[in-house]
């Protein structure tokens, strides 16, 4: 077996000396790549089949590095996700502003003196215009939400490619510990709003509350 060349060993030692602190996935990939190259040169003298296997491994690692590079984690973390967050904040602000404008208009109409029909009609006309104007928020918030949806699609596409490249299956992850937030949500039964058709209806709730005993409630689930 041919000995490992001194310059190859020196490359690994140099890597470990200079880059071993806070090793990133990319560092590990580099190390694996160099080790594979080193072993490849060594076994090339022994077995052609093994040599080909190592060439293949080096190729796989290089391809993986390209996929990780395409993932652009910095771009996702510092640009795409914060931008999506800003869009959603703007949606919340716009809907709140519009709702307040509509409610103020409605409250003005409710509180108005209707004894003078002309003055009352003028007030109602004016407040109706305010309501129409406020409703224009829907166009802009729709555009903002579509941008967020595009960002989610962008992330989903890259995660899928990365998972394929790493050959990660759903069952590969370690059991995750329940976070404090998840524990609170489970214990306090916090699910948030349901989609149309997913939650129970008011009629169902009314049936539960008109039930006299557990047997009546049980009957609702048969």
């Amino acid at each position: 077996m041919a000995p490992v060349q001194p310059e190859q060993l020196a490359r690994i030692v140099d890597f470990l000396k200079t880059e071993r602190h806070d090793l990133s996935l990319d560092d590990v990939m580099t190390l694996a790549e160099r080790m594979a190259e080193t072993l490849d040169d060594t076994v090339a003298h022994v077995d052609t089949l093994l040599h080909d296997e190592f060439r293949s491994i080096v190729g796989e690692i290089a391809a993986l590095r390209r996929e990780i590079g395409a993932f652009r984690p910095g771009h996702m973390r510092f640009e795409r996700i914060p931008e999506a967050g800003r869009e959603l904040d703007a949606v919340v602000d716009a809907t709140e502003t519009a709702t307040n404008a509509i409610m103020e208009a409605a409250e003005s109409i409710m509180a108005a003196d209707a004894t003078d029909p002309d003055a009352y009609k003028a007030l109602v006309d004016e407040k109706m215009l305010v309501i129409f104007e406020a409703c224009s928020f829907q166009d802009i918030t729709g555009q903002r939400i579509r941008k967020v949806v595009r960002t989610l699609g962008w992330i989903e596409e890259r995660l899928a490619k990365l998972a394929d490249a790493l050959k990660i299956a759903d069952g590969d992850h370690a059991e995750e510990e329940e976070s404090e937030e998840e524990k609170r949500m489970r214990e306090l039964i916090l699910h948030g709003p349901q989609h149309e058709g997913e939650g129970v209806s008011q009629d169902f709730v009314d049936d539960v509350f008109s039930a006299n005993d557990q047997d009546d409630i049980d009957a609702l689930f048969r």
């Binding site: 409610m103 409710m110 916090l190 129970v200 709730v205």
Partner: protein
């Protein structure tokens, strides 16, 4: 228990807009004495200072949820008889059953209308 339009009502919700909507609906129904709190902790403090004839509470709030508030109210001998209506977007069966078991008087699923609110308040006071 008779429905008394002069009784003080406490509306508990972390969204000012929802409090404003419920306050306006209650006003339309004839209730003028309406207080508000932004979560269960604040509501509990107000309930210990003033006797409310009705509490209308959201479920999902921080730090104390409406569900926790309900359990605190039912466990407090001085407050346990206070009529309590949950108004919430939590619309899973387990939420409805848990609220009923905890002693809520009625349960309204958001979004709701004035007629539903009126009907549930009347139902609570006709029991």
């Amino acid at each position: 228990m008779a429905l008394d339009l002069t009784m003080p009502v406490l509306v508990v919700d972390d969204y000012k807009t929802m409090i404003r909507i419920i306050r306006n609906l209650l006003k339309q129904l004839g209730f003028d004495d309406v207080d508000e709190a932004s979560d269960g902790t604040e509501a509990l403090g107000k309930m210990k200072e003033r006797r409310y004839g009705l509490v209308i509470s959201d479920w999902n709030m921080e730090p104390m949820t409406g569900y926790e508030l309900l359990k605190h109210v039912r466990a407090d001998t001085g407050l346990s008889k206070t009529p309590f209506i949950m108004v919430t977007a939590e619309s899973k069966t387990e939420n409805v059953i848990a609220a009923k078991k905890a002693g809520v008087n009625n349960y309204i699923v958001k979004p709701f209308n004035a007629q539903t609110l009126k009907g549930k308040i009347e139902a609570v006071f006709s029991d």
